[in-house]
């Protein structure tokens, strides 16, 4: 009846029990607040069943931020353990639990935080920047989000019921095979990544088609904002890379559930095949995360320099080149697997080539500031820190891409320092920058600038303290994922410094959380009434903040880059106010239903509750059939209503 699920699954170590209690309490708290404020109906109608990309984007980002707290808590636990667990002391968590923690940290940060903020920003900004009222496949988009959300929930469930994978965030076999990991941890990992991965593929298809087919009249590819270009390139990567992940995970599933031998060490299997396949997805994946950050900076830097972007064409070609190269470098993740010098040298040099377009981008951003008027608002502070960190990360990346050097630093904390420099210094700082930049556009009010700056300085110093010493630890022979080490290694004092760095980052995060809370509380005082607070250049700033449900009352027409800038400088005419009927897709709960059912399928498969999995799978198919055979339903907003809403928004502006 319950498969492998027994009462044992609910027994944990003390530290985990604390985490489970905290999670349950906050869950109950949130549900309590919703009941208290009687907002279920509002949530259901305006959010859960919505297919509006603006709503879905906000939900993506809220989910990703919640997961970020969880992933960061994992990080703090690891650093605390490593600062304590030296010589005779064995720290406060067991080796097995420590391995669960770092596996969960990596999975959470990449799949749930990284992908969440990328798709969140894409949902919010891409339609606005291309002058579209909607995305190409609104239901597919909503479904992608709900699959992502259900994968997040499955990872939280694994905290309370049973255990997480102990095989690292990429679960290399044979360790992740049934022989060495017989319990449910790897199964949890497989299903949550599988569900999130399918969701990502769907969102990828949706945004690729949206960008290619739904641009407003006149916006040719070479007149798209760079953020849209970066999104386009990232989506191409999603569409090519995620099917590899899905197929690889299915093969691992077959190995574990049906005793097949794709990746087992003996009986004809080959674990090296898995390593190749997972990185054929994994390397493009890191570019899926970083390209949108490049796009964000390409919007932020010109806006706050009161200039247009330097070298637009170069920037586009650099993006395309990075997109292409990211598919031919995956082998650099395992130079140490014993491939001959022919293979290693080729992939080493290919990897170095990526430095060229990336370097070009950095110079173009810097020269965007040249002869500009640079406003040092917090988005620009993040850019400032990005350049400093990212160039160091790039330099160490080149070191890692040279096979003989890689032999000495691979799998050490040097590698950890490198990719955290790229992911935090690149993607996360980019996201913070974009978050602050577009926050007034989406919500209609500002984030607290003062608190943002405090948070920035905490992050900047904390980041340097938490990750620069790791380069040194790597040179000292410290490998990653160690839950304990001998005192004679001399690592302990550095691990303590690194732990202090993590604590400073925690201060930064707390300030950010407080800033967000305070801004929401005082939103009436910080309203963005103009809709264009930063003197923007692109279409999203030509409409009120927050945007009306239909985004653009009049579909804009564009004949050059930076269309809003052109209008402001009198180089392009003001748009005519001829309103028309607007058709928008109706809300549907099917995405939510399928998300919940997928969550149950994942849980049931993890615990081998086959009947439940089959029932829910059939239900998913039924939901899809119902949805796909229905009429394509639309809400119509008539021209008169549009006129009324636009007039109201202008009146509101004048009143304030």
């Amino acid at each position: 009846m319950f498969g492998k699920l027994t009462i044992e699954a609910f027994k944990h170590e003390a530290s985990q029990n604390v985490a489970v209690c905290m999670m349950l309490l906050s869950g109950i708290g949130i549900i309590g607040i919703i009941f208290y404020t009687k907002s279920w109906k509002w949530l259901w109608n305006d959010w859960f069943t919505s297919v509006d990309p603006k709503r879905i984007g906000v939900m993506y980002i809220i989910t990703a931020l919640l997961m970020f707290f969880k992933g960061f808590a994992d990080a703090v636990m690891m650093r605390l353990q490593q600062a304590l667990s030296v010589g005779d002391s064995h720290g406060f968590i067991s080796a097995g639990h420590f391995q669960e923690v770092f596996s969960a940290h990596g999975t959470t940060m990449i799949f749930f935080v990284g992908m969440g903020v990328v798709f969140g920003l894409l949902n919010l900004i891409v339609p606005l920047q291309i002058g579209a009222r909607d995305v190409a496949f609104p239901f597919l988009n909503a479904l992608g989000f709900w699959l992502f959300a259900s994968a997040c929930v499955l990872s939280l469930v694994s905290l309370a019921v049973g255990k997480f994978s102990q095989a690292g965030w990429l679960a290399y076999p044979p360790l992740s095979g049934i022989e060495y990991s017989p319990d449910e941890g790897v199964d949890y990992w497989i299903w949550m990544v599988q569900i999130a991965g399918v969701g990502s593929t769907m969102s990828g298809i949706n945004f690729l088609v949206t960008i290619l087919k739904m641009r407003c009249p006149g916006m040719t590819l070479m007149k798209m904002p760079i953020f849209v270009w970066s999104a386009l390139c990232a989506m191409v990567l999603v569409i090519f890379a995620f099917p590899i992940l899905t197929a690889t995970l299915y093969m691992l599933t077959l190995d574990r559930y049906l005793g097949m031998h794709f990746f087992s060490a003996g009986e004809g299997g080959n674990p090296m095949l898995y390593v190749n396949l997972i990185w054929a997805w994994g390397h493009p994946e890191v570019y899926i995360l970083i390209l949108p950050a490049f796009g964000i900076f390409s919007e932020v830097v010109p806006t706050f320099s009161e200039k247009r972007l330097f070298g637009y064409v170069s920037m586009v070609w650099a993006l395309i080149l990075i997109t292409f190269l990211s598919f031919v470098v995956w082998l650099h993740h395992f130079f140490t697997m014993g491939a001959g010098p022919n293979v290693n040298a080729f992939f080493g040099v290919m990897t170095m080539l990526i430095a060229i377009p990336t370097g070009v981008k950095i110079f173009n951003w810097l020269f965007t500031k040249f002869r500009g008027r640079v406003h040092f608002t917090s988005p620009m502070l993040w850019f400032f820190a990005f350049v400093l960190n990212f160039s160091v990360g790039g330099m160490t990346g080149i070191l890692l891409s040279s096979p003989p050097v890689d032999y000495q630093v691979h799998n050490s904390l040097f590698l950890i320092a490198h990719f955290h420099g790229m992911v935090i210094g690149g993607m996360l700082f980019g996201f913070f920058s974009g978050f602050t930049y577009w926050f007034p556009k989406i919500t209609g009010f500002f984030l607290s600038e003062t608190l943002n700056r405090y948070a920035f300085w905490f992050w900047f110093t904390g980041f340097l303290l938490a990750f620069m010493p790791l380069y040194m630890l790597g040179f000292m022979g410290a490998t990653r994922r160690l839950d304990h080490y001998e005192a004679s290694t001399g690592w302990n004092s550095i691990f303590v410094v690194v732990g202090i760095g993590a604590a400073i980052i925690l201060c930064g995060i707390s300030v950010q959380a407080y800033g967000l809370f305070k801004s929401i509380k005082d939103r009436k005082k910080n309203l963005d009434i103009t809709g264009d607070p930063w003197n923007g250049r692109t279409l999203e700033w030509s409409i009120p903040s927050p945007p009306p449900i239909y985004n653009f009352a009049i579909t804009p027409t564009v004949d050059q880059l930076d269309p809003l800038w052109a209008i402001k400088r009198g180089q392009a005419p003001q748009p005519q106010k001829d309103y028309e009927d607007i058709h928008l897709p109706k809300n549907t709960p099917m995405g939510l239903y399928i998300g919940v059912l997928s969550l149950i399928v994942g849980f049931a498969m993890t615990w081998h509750i086959l009947w439940l999995a089959i029932v829910c799978f059939i239900a998913i198919i039924t939901c899809l059939i119902i949805r796909l055979s229905g009429e394509d339903e639309h809400d119509v907003i008539t021209a008169a209503q549009v006129k009324e809403m636009e007039a109201a928004s202008i009146r509101r502006r004048e009143v304030v």
Binding site: A265, V349, M352, I362, R371, S402, V405, R481
Partner: protein, 295 residues
């Protein structure tokens, strides 16, 4: 954007101080920890060459990084919004020469680094025997759950979590695993290479000086992974012979039967020495994975 006071000079100075502190900390920490920084103070010719390559590439990369840092600070300073002296030219969005320069320079630099890497990858191929007038010595390595077994087929001895060899003689490691994937790494002497079940990888190195060097597994292999470190002792030839003679007299005998007991998962095993009964043991461990398991 009004009413926001600009603290640009203050901010740049503060950031500059942080960056300088980070820069100064590097040589200081290198000095403080010099005895433990295996990669930067190697004790073997292979690790030394790998370190030198690291320095060369690092130096070349600094040619880009330093200008980027300088430009970041200068442009932030000079073009701050309330600097009345700075020129403002919002339509300066293209400059062919400038773009040629920063497409071209990274290209040339990458070409140089790439060429060096290409040559060095062949030269430092871990499979390549080291040229030496002395006869190389073969040591076979098996990664187990969670310990390292070293087999000396020529001497007919074996050891656990401890490996000794004479200095200044090329050592040829043959590496496999009877466990999940591991990575065999003695940072003082040479870079790492994976130890995988069914596969045989190789690593060649020489220890230039005597000493005890820490070796470990660099790849996650399960619960006891953190305890998978061992001592690699490079000694004089005399000491080595002394040690191998004592191993030959060891009361513990490593046969296939004994090996199977040893291969069962265990953590933090102390160092051991064995007589080796069967010099084909290493090949048998690999062959185990080559044919289907008997049901």
């Amino acid at each position: 954007m009004k009413n926001r006071i600009q603290f640009v000079p203050l901010m740049l100075i503060f950031a500059g101080i942080i960056v300088i502190i980070v820069l100064i900390m590097q040589p200081i920490s290198v000095h403080i920890f010099r005895n433990n920084i295996a990669v930067l103070f190697p004790k073997g010719i292979i690790a030394l060459q790998e370190r030198n390559l690291l320095f060369i590439i690092q130096a070349l990369m600094l040619l880009v990084i330093i200008p980027v840092y300088i430009l970041t600070f200068i442009f932030s300073w000079k073009y701050r919004v309330n600097n009345p002296k700075a020129k403002y030219d919002p339509d300066l969005v293209d400059n062919r020469l400038a773009e040629y320069i920063w497409w071209g320079l990274p290209c040339i630099l990458t070409l140089i680094v790439g060429a060096i890497t290409w040559v060095e990858t062949y030269r430092l191929d871990p499979l390549k025997p080291i040229e030496s007038d002395k006869k190389p010595m073969t040591i076979q390595v098996v990664a187990l759950q969670w310990k390292w077994l070293f087999i000396y087929p020529e001497e007919k001895i074996a050891s656990l979590n401890f490996v000794q060899f004479p200095k200044q003689i090329p050592i040829h490691f043959e590496i496999t695993a009877d466990a999940p994937m591991n990575s065999f790494w003695i940072p003082h002497l040479a870079g790492q290479i994976y130890a995988m079940p069914k596969m045989r990888t190789e690593l060649n190195l020489i220890a230039d000086v005597e000493g005890d060097f820490r070796g470990s597994s660099a790849n996650l292999s399960g619960e006891g992974f953190a305890g998978m470190h061992f001592i690699a002792r490079a000694s004089s030839e005399e000491d080595y012979h002394h040690w191998s003679e004592s191993a030959k007299k060891s009361t513990k005998v490593l046969s296939m039967e004994e090996y199977n007991k040893l291969a069962a998962p265990s953590e933090n095993n102390p160092a051991e020495i064995y007589q080796l009964k069967d010099e084909q043991l290493f090949n048998q461990i690999i062959m185990k994975y080559m044919h289907p398991k008997e049901k």
